[in-house]
Every structure is written in C-alpha cells, then in structure tokens.
C-alpha cells in the first residue's frame, strides 16, 4: 500500500519574495539571509486537527453572524465558495478555512482602522468553516469595498477577502487574499504586485459564478485554493526514521 510521504518542495517563484520595495513595509520586515531548506520531519508533516466542536455553523455567514436580530449586513450579497485541493488535485476534507474582510464601505472593524467610511453595526467581518468530505467550503458575506492605505500617497486596495487555510500539515499553512474578477484596482496594487508571476496572480482572482448564484437573492464567486501536495512513499525514504 502507498504511504503518504514528503511534501513537494514549495515553488518560491510563484510566491512573493520577502523583500518587495514597492510594498514599503516589507523593506524592514524581510529577512536578508537565505532560508535554510529542510527536508520534512514529523514536525512539518503533521499539523493541528480541527472538528465541528471548535466552531459553529453560523460562523460561515458573515451577513448574519454579527447582526442584530432581524437585521443584516449592508452591501452586495455574495456567496464565496470553492474547493481546497492539493497539488495532486486531491480535495482536502475537514480543514479549517478562516476569512476576514472590510465592510461594503471599505472599513474594517478593528481598533487600529481609522478610515472615514463608517462601521456597519451589523457586520463583524470574519467567518470560519471546515471543508466537507469533498474539500468544498462556502461563505455568505457582502462584497468588501476598496479602501485607501498609506504606502504611496494614493494607493487603494482592490476589494479583497483575506483567507487562512491549514491543510493537514504545518508546512502547508497558508494565508492569502482573494480578489474579484473585473476589479480595475488589481493591476495597480503594490501588494498584488509583490507576486512576480502574472499567472500566479490570476490564481487569486475569484470568478463570477452564475451557476452558483441564487436568483433574485445572492450573487456568487468561485475561489479554489491549492495547498502543497505530497508524494507517496514508493520506496522507503526513511522519513519516519526506521
């Protein structure tokens, strides 16, 4: 029987490098020495396991999970859904997906956000869910607004949802951002442009998904995420030390 083995090495050319001068904050927060490359040990091939006792079903519904009774968040109602897969195109079931975002006006519910757009009293801005047995996840939320940020004087973030995904191993841990098809701010954004590969940027743009749209109710965007895959142990590679 094939045993799960090591993870494929991360292709760093698809990721942003640590130092990206046009995203100014990275300049003093980027290590200057090379990363030391490790072959996997049990410390990397294992990772936290979450269950349905950890979270509530309502946590995935950002329109209602912070709303007063009988009220809902303001904004364009969207379903954000997709699959969490590995590089072998295998679904990753039962993995934790967490999101956070600005409200429809581009304002975050955070003590450090001082943008003049108003807080929506019925919108918290975070959600979480576990993928099902097919690696499928879904959230209901409002489409976040664009907002200005201090980098150059006139930088605007495209509408985006932050997403955190675990996988089954600590070496698969990933935080990324999901953008929305057709947003003209995407190619302008210094944070998007930290990614050197245009094809990799395309992977971060959720597509309008008319078939998942609920007529007269909620529009849908599809966003699949790929985590690192792992090889099968064909011949003993002594990962487990025997």
């Amino acid at each position: 029987m094939l045993k799960p083995g090591e993870f494929y090495q991360r292709n760093r050319e698809r990721h942003p490098p640590a130092l990206t001068r046009d995203y100014k904050t990275s300049v003093s927060r980027s290590p200057q020495y090379s990363l030391i490359s490790l072959q996997n040990s049990v410390s990397e091939t294992t990772g936290p396991v979450f269950g349905h006792n950890d979270i509530d079903p309502m946590d995935r519904d950002l329109i209602y999970n912070y709303a007063q009774s009988g009220e809902s968040a303001i904004g364009e109602r969207i379903i954000l859904h997709g699959r969490i897969l590995d590089e072998n195109a295998r679904p990753i079931p039962n993995t934790l997906v967490e999101i956070w975002q600005a409200n429809a006006g581009g304002r975050y519910r955070h003590k450090k956000d001082t943008y003049l757009a108003p807080i929506d009293p019925n919108f918290g801005g975070c959600g979480r869910t576990l993928t099902d047995e097919n690696g499928y996840y879904y959230f209901r939320t409002v489409k976040p607004g664009a907002y200005p940020w201090r980098n150059w004087v006139n930088n605007w973030r495209p509408a985006h949802v932050h997403m955190s995904i675990f996988g089954t191993a600590f070496c698969q841990r990933l935080i990324t951002q999901c953008y929305f098809e057709g947003d003209p701010l995407i190619p302008e954004c210094p944070i998007v442009k930290t990614i050197p590969d245009p094809e990799a940027i395309e992977q971060l743009i959720a597509k309008l998904d008319m078939n998942a749209t609920i007529p007269l109710d909620t529009i849908a965007y599809k966003f699949d995420v790929v985590l690192r895959g792992r090889r099968s142990t064909l011949f003993e590679n002594r990962l487990e030390g025997n």
């Binding site: 990721h15 003093s28 290590p31 195109a89 967490e98 992977q203």
Partner: protein
C-alpha cells in the same frame, strides 16, 4: 507528442496585513463574535511534563518591536508525539499542541503557557532535540516565516539535533535558543525573533 503532467500549482501567499486579528483573534481587534477563539490553550489541563511560559518580542530591521505580528506554534507533547494521526503516538486528552499568539499592541511583547515538549523522531533514525515550531505572519511579511525555538538548557540534545546542525554558521544557531529564567517559581523561556539585521533569526524553507 509530449505527455503533460497534470499538477496544480500552490496558491500564492499574500501578507496577512495589519488587521489579521479580525479574522484570527477578533477579541484583540475589539469585538466578541465567536463562541470560542482558537489556539489559546495549547497543552490542556491533563498534559504531562513541565509547565513553562514562553515569551518574546519580534523585532524588525530597525530594532523596533513588530506590534501587529501573529505567531502560531506547533509542538509535540512531553512524550515527543504530535496531536495528529501521523504524530508518532497518543497524546493526552485536551492536548492540541497548537497555539495562536498575538502581541500587546503597545509594547509588542507576546507570551503563552504550555508544556515543554519531548524529543521527537527525526529523519534517518535521528532524534530531534525538544523544540517548538513557529509560523510568523504580519503586515509587511509577504509569506509566513517558519522558525524553531530550541531550549538553551538542552545542550546535549541540541548538539545532536539534525536541524541545528544543518545551519552552517554556528553563531547563527544561537538565534534559535530560548533563554531560561525563573519568575514566581515558574520556568520562563525568552525567545526574541529578529526579522532582519544583526543576529537575524534563522528561518527555514520547510
């Protein structure tokens, strides 16, 4: 005709940004939304082994504290087993081995309570010295940084550790050693992380 390989490519990383707390620690962002936040109890009440506190600060290249950083920790229990189907053995009920830590917004100091892990199995019949695995994200960090904390009071195990020994420059290995002290009868390990500059912490491509 050439055959094609049908692999997918990993989704690229983007910075966690300054508002990571909203999603992953909303209480710190200033609001109460979930029945429970995740990652605040690493060891649980029944874990064997020595109870310890781990504290530190993350510094940028100017020597200033990074106040909006989030750290995650992943560790074995006192027997050297991870809470995972491939983790080597059973762990105590309530032991998750995973924690999520944010800083004090004013000072940049962070800290958490856990148990000291045991040595774990390494590659090729080696033993890994007791260590905590860290993953660090923040505004200005484009892809999460992996590092390890080792314990300065484990000199023999550290000397044989296969990962520490991979680091060519011996003086850089010291950046991964947490310093031990006592406070109110409790063992405290101090682990300051330097993102850049003199004595830059060793980070790993795992």
């Amino acid at each position: 005709m050439p055959q094609k390989l049908h692999y997918l490519a990993e989704t690229p990383s983007q910075t966690a940004g300054p508002y990571v707390h909203i999603g992953l620690a909303p209480g710190a962002a200033g609001f109460d939304i979930y029945r429970q936040e995740l990652g605040w109890d690493i060891a649980g009440p029944d874990a064997k082994g020595e109870r310890i506190r781990v504290e530190g600060i993350v510094m940028d290249g100017t020597g200033s504290p990074v106040k909006d950083v989030m750290l995650e920790v992943w560790q074995a229990n006192a027997d050297g087993f991870y809470a995972h189907p491939e983790g080597g053995g059973d762990v105590e009920d309530g032991f998750s081995g995973w924690g999520r830590v944010i800083t004090d917004f004013e000072t940049g100091e962070w800290g958490f309570d856990t148990v000291k892990p045991g040595p774990t199995t390494g590659r090729d019949s080696t033993r890994q010295a007791p260590h905590l695995n860290f993953w660090i994200v923040a505004r200005g960090i484009n892809i999460g940084l992996n590092t390890r904390l080792y314990f300065e009071d484990e000199p023999e195990a550290n000397a044989k550790d296969p990962v520490l020994n991979l680091i060519e420059w011996e003086r850089r290995r010291a950046t991964l050693l947490a310093k031990k002290s006592e406070r109110d009868g409790k063992t405290v390990y101090r682990f300051d992380i330097k993102l850049q500059g003199e004595d830059e912490t060793v980070f790993f491509d795992v």
